[in-house]
Amino acid sequence: LLLSTGLFSIGIYGLLTRRHAVALLMSTQLMLAAVIIALVAFARFTYQPAQPLAGQALAVFIIGVAVAEVIVGTALARRVPRQ
């Protein structure tokens, strides 16, 4: 959890520092990776017999959402420097 917290903070730093659109996307990817790590860690350690793999399932969905975000983000980033 400390790892995910640190990675999320690094992502916030990058999001505030960077100006290039692709660099901003990279920072958001770092933050999403931190969230996924936190989810898997919680799912690993807070075991619930009724739904033992709910955290992992949520992590899989978040990875899918991250990919969708990058698809749209790269398409937008190609347009932004032109305007």
Binding site: I10, I37, F61
Partner: protein, 224 residues
Amino acid sequence: MRSARPAGNRPPRTVTSSFARIERRVQNEQSARERRVIRDPAQAAGIYLTGALILVGGLAVVTLRNLYRAGVALALTLLMAALLFLLLGAPLVGLVELVGGVAGVGFMLLGSLIYLRRRGVAGIDPDRRLRPLSILAALAAFTLLAVGLSGARWAAGSWPEAGGSVAMLAGEIGQRYAVALDGLAILLVAALVGAFVLGGRESSDADTTPGGHRKSQRPRGRST
């Protein structure tokens, strides 16, 4: 060595306080046992090493000025995250991260940078004006999250083995989360369609002059 206390100062021992003390001791022993969930030292060392590499990679992503190197650092960071998931006993999540995160996200971002370079946009991020404020914001976020997560308690229990967890997770996603899976599929298709529409608009903008004429239109009266 415990000092002997006079009998008059000793608080009255009741059945309720004894039960509470026993319950507290059981909880403390249980939490101490739960803190050692990862018992294999090699696995623990791998987790710590991977975590350190993830942090170093994340720092490289946000500090490198050359965005190509930052993209490679991001791909390596996501690769380490996939390895961490494998070490934590979540092989399916690691595999999805490997395919979606490393291959998908990393190569899409690097491809986008290469495309922008061909269009004359430099892959360098020079702006550094907000650095002190950004460091303060990141430290504040770290403190807030660390304090918020410090009270997390680990529950007792054991995960299924790696192969069993893949089968169970696939079964859960296919049955319990089928609607969410369909939603994710629709989201991905919508993102792809949106990207194609944006790309098509961009190419039509590039081919059109400010007067509305297409650049690719060949001037009349000239032969090839």
